[in-house]
Symmetry: C2
Subunit: 296 residues, 2 copies
């Protein structure tokens, strides 16, 4: 990560943490265990890549800070809910996430299911709230785009395919579609959200969509490489799991070297899409390069 | 159920079934198991009380059919997702729902979790879609109100309290709050949705909110009575469970007779709130009376 990206990501992560904290207020009611589990699941972790994409893409269109931070926090809640549900015993059965016990280990399965449900719901509440944007058309568009990215045609559908993939061997086309849905859709939405907030012209939306598409795929290939090459200690979650389950990944289909060069090529392509934005997109360029070089 | 209510409810249920069918299209993709589980969870069952409340309240403000049916179908998806997640082994561990195997029994736990997640997400997609209403302010308001009703301050929070209630004895105030959140919030939203779609004036919104509040509580007290007095065969799900778990309910706190008269009183109160609407609200009046008299 370049020093300027490191500085910007750290600052944005602090901002997002503060907004998440404010959007998940503790309560005295009997439902406080739910709020605690939502806070445990959403606060204090991760690089906050997706909200960073929201704030950086919003900055290209001079969107004021609070709007992008709220939209970024909502997107992060969706990401966190998906991790909570994916980690459940009925799904991936993971005990460790970001170096901490997963939500169902720290609480219990029922609370984790509900906390995920409530985080997803809160995300839509935030997108639809007038505090996020004064223009209702922007709010409705944010909700619609987020729902499409997170639902059966996006993340949930990708997760279903990922489970089905344990029963059959997927080819490269199927793996690409799976990952575009499972991981790519939310990353795409992060970049798209800035364009929605900034009421960006169509041509610039398309340029950003191209960037997001290549970034998302590069991100996933790098993730597959980390699963093979990384250790649980540095990656912060269990590694080697795909291989142990005999699941097809970009790495198992392409081999390490071709997967690596494919990821690098996608990062270059992602950067090329940002040409219309000039130097104001430099941090988004840095993100694309970092995504394929990261060690965790 | 009065004959006119029976006729109207049956017709509305058929319409909602058709809209749900259309809003959950089958797919050829590898994610088809998810779509099948969503369809299994949402189609072919229930009295569709919540969507009926949407279409009937919308009719008070002369809202065109498709808008209310789409909003009603979205609300029904949220109701169905909550049943799918509540039935999971980690939650209520129910095998039977509407006389059929629950979703996790017909599919598996992971698919049921994902199907619930995707139904919830699809509901927000529908609310935010221009096909539901041409005015983005209405769409954003529908999303916001639904999220508040379904989330940590509403249904999810109520479900958490319900789980916590197995560890401690709740008094009547706490039970009332629990049920207002767990069951009442979605019923309230059903009535509210019609007012939002119809851009109803504040006074009429308040009247409808009063109706919905009393209706929701009456509904829950009647549910508690059915749990004690009904059989699994007629009710369509396991009965006697609250008692077996030693959970406080309106019936355990008030006794059968007082619970019955409280439910009747609330139904009368609900009807009284509808006075400003004249005969056009007759079916909503019938609903209030039916809710406390039903045998399933």
């Amino acid at each position: 990560m370049t020093p300027r990206l490191q500085t910007a990501v750290s600052a944005a992560a602090r901002d997002i943490e503060a907004v998440l904290d404010q959007l998940l207020p503790v309560t005295d009611g009997l439902e406080r265990r739910l709020i605690e589990a939502m806070r445990y699941s959403a606060l204090g972790g991760g690089k906050r890549l997706r909200p960073f994409l929201v704030t950086e893409s919003a900055r290209l269109f001079s969107v004021a800070g609070p709007a992008a931070l709220r939209a970024g926090a909502a997107l992060e809640m969706v990401h966190c809910y998906s991790l909570v549900h994916d980690d459940l015993p009925a799904m991936d059965n993971d005990d460790l996430r970001r170096g901490r016990p997963t939500t169902h280990k720290a609480f219990d399965d029922a609370t984790a299911i509900l906390a995920g449900d409530a985080l997803l719901t809160r995300a839509f509440e935030i997108m639809a709230h007038p505090a996020t944007h004064g223009d209702a058309a922007v709010r409705a568009e944010l909700v619609l785009a987020l729902a499409l990215a997170a639902g059966a045609e996006g993340m949930c559908g990708g997760q279903m395919i990922d489970i089905e993939a344990e029963k059959q061997t997927l080819d490269l086309g199927a793996i690409t579609r799976l990952q575009r849905m499972k991981t790519g859709a939310l990353i795409n939405f992060g970049v798209e959200a800035g364009a929605i907030l900034g009421k960006a012209p169509t041509a610039l939306r398309h340029a950003l969509a191209g960037y997001a598409h290549d970034l998302g795929l590069a991100f996933q290939i790098a993730d597959d490489l980390l699963d093979v090459e990384g250790s649980a200690e540095t990656v912060g979650k269990a590694t080697g799991k795909d291989q142990a389950r005999g699941k097809a990944t970009f790495v198992s289909l392409l081999g390490i070297d071709r997967a690596r060069s494919q990821a690098d090529m996608l990062a270059d392509q992602a950067v090329a899409h940002l040409e219309p934005f000039g130097p104001s997109a430099d941090l988004l360029r840095d993100v694309a390069r970092w995504v394929v070089e990261r060690k965790s």
